[in-house]
C-alpha cells in the first residue's frame, strides 16, 4: 500500500464542490480500448441512494444493483452499503458517507479504479487477482494508491483525511454471505436422488462440483460415479475456486448463472410437468371409476322402474278404494246428522206443544206431547250413534289410504335414492375431471414457458429436456380429455335416470289419501253435530216430562 499526500489545492480543483473528478486514465486518453466494469451492491442497511451523474436524480439503491463509472453514492445516519468494485475490490461505506466512482474499467491487464471519498468512512479491500491493480482513493487532501491490501479511509471536515485499518473480517463476512446467496442459484431446489440422498450434495453434484473441481471430473455421470465409488472422498472443494468465482466480473457470472438458470428452470419444469401428467393420469383413472359407478347406479335405478310402478299401481288401487269408502262414510255421516237435527226439531216442537197444553190445563194432551218429545230424543240419539260409526269408518279408510300413499312414496324414494347415488358419483367424476383439466392446463403453460426458455438458450442442448416436457404435457392433455369424456357420460347417465323417474313415477295414492282425510274430517264434523243435536233433543224431552209432572201435582192426579 502506498499513501501519498498530494497537493491539496490541485485535488480540490479536480473535484469542485465534490463533483466528479478527472482521472489519470481519462487524462491519458487510455479509455479508448478499456472495458467498462461495474460495481455491484452486495449488502445494504438503512437509507442509501445513488445517482449516475451529478445531474441525474437520486434513486434508492437495492441489493444487486449495478453502478457504472460516474456513479455517486450517499448513505444515511444509520446506514451502510457494501460494493464489489469490478473484479478485484470490495468497499464498505459507513454511515453518513458520500463517495463518487469516477473510473472503473479494465484496460488489458490493468484494472483501474478511482474512488473519491467526499466524507465519511470507506473500508476497502483490493485483492490480487493476477492482473495489475491500479486502485486509488481520492480525498480533498490526499490520494491513496492501493496495490493489494485492506485499509479504511476516513474523510471529514473536523479531522481531515485519516487512514486506518479496515474491518477485514467484516468485509470477508459480507463477501461470503453475498456469494452464498449467489450460489443459491447453483444449488437449485435441493432435490436428491438415489446416489446422493443429501439434497445439498446432489445440488453440488449436478451444478457446481464440476466448476469447483476442474480437471478432476468431467460431466455429471462421471462425477456421480467417482463420488459413489469413494474416489472423491478426499477431495476438498478448493476455496480458491470460490474466490475465483467471486473475482469474476459480474457480467460473466451472470452469463453462467443465466445458462444454469435456464437448465435449472427446465429441470424444474420437467419435474412439474411430470407431476402434472401423473396428477392428470390419476384423476382420469378416478373419473373413469366414478363414471362407471354412476352409470351402473343409473342403470340399476332404471331397472327398478317396472317393479316400482307395480307397487305404485297396487297402492294407488288401495288408496282409491279407501278414498271411496271414506267418501261414502262421509255421506252417511251427513245423512245421520240430518236425521238427528230433524229429531231435535221434533223434540223441541213437542216441548212447545206440551207447554201450550199445560197452559190450557189439558194434562192428557200434555202427557202425550211429552211422550212424543221423548220418542224424538230417542231418534236423535240413534242418528247420532250412526253418524259416529260413519265417521269412524271414514277415518279408518283415510288411514288405509295414507298407509298406501306412504308405501308408494317409499318405493319412489328407493328409486330416487339410487339416482342420488349416481349423481354423487357423477359429481365426483366431475371434480376429478376438473383436477385433470387443471393439471393439463398447468402442463401446457409450463410447456409454453419451457419452449420460450429453450428458444432463448438455443446454443445449449436442451432438446431432450424439451421433448420430455412436451411428452409430459401431451400425456396430461390426453388424460384430461379422457377424463372429460368419462365425466360427461356419468353426468348424462345420472341426469337421464332422474328425468325418467320424474316423468313416470307419481304418487297418486297420496292424492287419494288426502281426499280420504278430508272426507274423514267432514264425517267427524257431522257426527259431532249429530251428537249435539241428540243431546238437545234429550234435554227438550226431559223438560217436557218434568213440566207435565209438575202440572199434574196441581191437578191432584196420582203419578
Amino acid at each position: 500500500m502506498c499513501v501519498a499526500r498530494a497537493d491539496a489545492q490541485s485535488t480540490d480543483a479536480a473535484q469542485p464542490d465534490g463533483g466528479t473528478p478527472s482521472t489519470p486514465a481519462e487524462g491519458d486518453g487510455a479509455v479508448a480500448n478499456a472495458e467498462a466494469l461495474s460495481a455491484i451492491v452486495m449488502q445494504i442497511e438503512g437509507r442509501v441512494r445513488a445517482r449516475t451523474s451529478p445531474d441525474a436524480p437520486w434513486a434508492p439503491v437495492k441489493e444487486n444493483d449495478r453502478l457504472l463509472a460516474g456513479a455517486e453514492l450517499q448513505t444515511g445516519l444509520r446506514a451502510s452499503v457494501a460494493l464489489r468494485l469490478g473484479s478485484n475490490a470490495t468497499a464498505l461505506l459507513d454511515a453518513t458517507t458520500s463517495i463518487v466512482i469516477p473510473s472503473l474499467e479494465r484496460d488489458g491487464r490493468v484494472l483501474t479504479t478511482r474512488m473519491v471519498v467526499r466524507s465519511g468512512r470507506v473500508d476497502v479491500r483490493v485483492d490480487r487477482v493476477g492482473l495489475d491493480n491500479d486502485f486509488s482513493v481520492l480525498t480533498p487532501s490526499a490520494t491513496i494508491a492501493v496495490s493489494g491490501t485492506t485499509l479504511a479511509i476516513l474523510n471529514g471536515q473536523l479531522m481531515g483525511t485519516e487512514v486506518t485499518g479496515a474491518r477485514s473480517n467484516l468485509l470477508t463476512a459480507i463477501e461470503s454471505r453475498w456469494i452464498q446467496r449467489r450460489l443459491a442459484f447453483y444449488f437449485g431446489d435441493g432435490t436428491s436422488n438415489r446416489r446422493f440422498p443429501d439434497p445439498a450434495m446432489h445440488g453440488i453434484n449436478r451444478t457446481v462440483a464440476k466448476n469447483l473441481l476442474p480437471g478432476v471430473v468431467d460431466g455429471d455421470e462421471q462425477l456421480e460415479q467417482a463420488w459413489f465409488t469413494g474416489s472423491l472422498q478426499n477431495v476438498e472443494f478448493n476455496i480458491n475456486n470460490l474466490q475465483r468465482t467471486l473475482n469474476m466480473d459480474p457480467p460473466v457470472i451472470d452469463e453462467e448463472l443465466a445458462a444454469l438458470s435456464v437448465l435449472q428452470q427446465l429441470l424444474e419444469i420437467q419435474l412439474r410437468t411430470a407431476d402434472d401428467a401423473n396428477t392428470a393420469d390419476s384423476a382420469a383413472v378416478l373419473v373413469q371409476a366414478f363414471a362407471q359407478k354412476a352409470i351402473q347406479l343409473a342403470a340399476a335405478a332404471e331397472a327398478m322402474l317396472p317393479d316400482i310402478q307395480k307397487v305404485l299401481d297396487a297402492q294407488n288401487a288401495i288408496a282409491s278404494d279407501a278414498a271411496k269408502d271414506a267418501a261414502n262414510a262421509r255421506i252417511d255421516a251427513l245423512l245421520y246428522g240430518k236425521e238427528a237435527a230433524e229429531a231435535k226439531g221434533d223434540a223441541l216442537q213437542a216441548l212447545a206443544d206440551t207447554i201450550i197444553a199445560l197452559d190450557a190445563k189439558d194434562f192428557e194432551a200434555a202427557q202425550a206431547f211429552a211422550a212424543a218429545a221423548s220418542l224424538a230424543a230417542l231418534f236423535a240419539a240413534d242418528a247420532a250413534l250412526n253418524a259416529s260409526d260413519s265417521s269412524k269408518t271414514a277415518f279408518s279408510a283415510a288411514e288405509s289410504a295414507a298407509q298406501a300413499a306412504a308405501i308408494a312414496q317409499g318405493a319412489i324414494d328407493t328409486y330416487f335414492n339410487k339416482v342420488i347415488e349416481a349423481e354423487n358419483c357423477a359429481n365426483g367424476a366431475a371434480a376429478q375431471a376438473s383436477i385433470a383439466s387443471n393439471a393439463a392446463a398447468s402442463a401446457q403453460a409450463l410447456n409454453q414457458l419451457a419452449q420460450q426458455l429453450g428458444a432463448a438458450a438455443q446454443g445449449q442442448n436442451m432438446g431432450p429436456l424439451l421433448a420430455q416436457i412436451d411428452s409430459n404435457t401431451n400425456q396430461a392433455i390426453a388424460a384430461s380429455m379422457a377424463a372429460a369424456i368419462s365425466r360427461d357420460q356419468a353426468l348424462a347417465a345420472a341426469s337421464n335416470a332422474r328425468s325418467m323417474g320424474e316423468k313416470t313415477l307419481f304418487n297418486f295414492a297420496a292424492v287419494f289419501a288426502s281426499h280420504a282425510a278430508a272426507d274423514a274430517a267432514l264425517a267427524a264434523v257431522a257426527a259431532n253435530q249429530a251428537a249435539l243435536d241428540a243431546m238437545e233433543a234429550q234435554a227438550a224431552a226431559d223438560l217436557a216430562n218434568e213440566l207435565v209432572d209438575f202440572g199434574c201435582i196441581g191437578c191432584g192426579k196420582d203419578h
Binding site: Q43, G76, S119, G165
Partner: protein
C-alpha cells in the same frame, strides 16, 4: 495632551466594547434545513442540505441528532425538540435560544455523550454532563478537534461529527434495540460470532496516532 489621551482611551474602549459585544453574538441563519426536509424519509436530502450550510442551526442539529439516535424525529417543531432534548439531558435546562441560531458545540457535545453513553472522567461523574466538560471529553476522544463549547460547527462539520459519533457508538457493547436493530457498526450482523469485526474497528486513540491497524 492629557485630555487627548483620555479621548483616545475612551474611543479605544468604545471600539473594544463594540467588538466584544458584536463578538458575543451568534450567527443567525435565515432558515433551517429541517424546515424543508423534516421527515425521516428526507434524511439524505436533509444531510445534503446541512452539508452546504455555513453553520448548523439549533433546529437542524436537534433534528439530526434525533435521527442519529432513534432513526426518527418524534418532534414536530423546534419547541418540542428542545423540550424532548432537555428531558434526555442533551442540553442544559436553561437553554432558550432561537431555532435558526448557530448551535454551540457545548450542547452538541452533551447530546453526543448522552447518545453514545460516554461517562467521561471524574468531573463528569461528579458534576454530570455539562457543555464544557462534554466538549473536553469529546476533544479527548478525538471526536471533535480542539474547540470550546461556545464555538459553532459548519454543516459539513456537523455531518462529520455524526459520522464520528457513529464510530464511537459502534465501539460500545452491542445491545439490540426493541426493534431488533443493533446499534453497532455498519454491517455488524454479518460479522463473525466472536464479533471480530467490531474488535478490528480502529477507534480514535487518545494518543492521537493515526497509524493504520493492520488487520492480519
Amino acid at each position: 495632551m492629557r485630555s487627548e489621551m483620555r479621548s483616545a482611551f475612551i474611543a479605544l474602549l468604545t471600539v473594544v466594547s463594540a467588538m466584544g459585544t458584536a463578538g458575543c453574538q451568534r450567527q443567525i441563519l435565515p432558515a433551517s434545513a429541517v424546515d424543508q426536509f423534516g421527515t425521516a424519509d428526507d434524511e439524505l436530502d436533509f444531510l445534503a442540505e446541512v452539508h452546504n450550510m455555513t453553520a448548523v442551526t439549533n433546529n437542524d442539529a436537534l433534528h439530526g441528532l434525533f435521527l442519529f439516535a432513534d432513526g426518527v424525529d418524534p418532534a414536530t417543531d423546534y419547541d418540542e425538540r428542545v423540550a424532548l432534548a432537555k428531558t434526555r439531558r442533551w442540553m442544559p435546562t436553561g437553554f432558550d435560544e432561537p431555532a435558526n441560531e448557530s448551535a454551540p458545540v457545548g450542547w452538541l457535545a452533551m447530546a453526543g455523550c448522552e447518545i453514545c453513553d460516554i461517562k467521561g472522567g471524574l468531573t463528569m461523574h461528579v458534576l454530570g454532563p455539562t457543555p464544557r466538560y462534554c466538549t473536553k471529553e469529546l476533544v479527548f476522544l478525538q471526536v471533535l478537534p480542539l474547540r470550546t463549547e461556545n464555538q459553532s460547527l459548519t454543516g459539513a462539520e456537523f455531518n462529520d461529527y455524526l459520522n464520528r459519533l457513529h464510530r464511537v457508538r459502534a465501539s460500545v457493547p452491542l445491545v439490540a434495540t426493541v426493534e431488533g436493530t443493533a446499534q453497532g457498526p455498519a454491517g455488524e450482523e454479518a460479522a463473525t460470532p466472536m464479533n471480530e469485526a467490531a474488535e478490528e474497528e480502529m477507534l480514535p486513540s487518545p494518543s492521537g496516532s493515526t497509524e493504520p491497524k493492520i488487520a492480519r
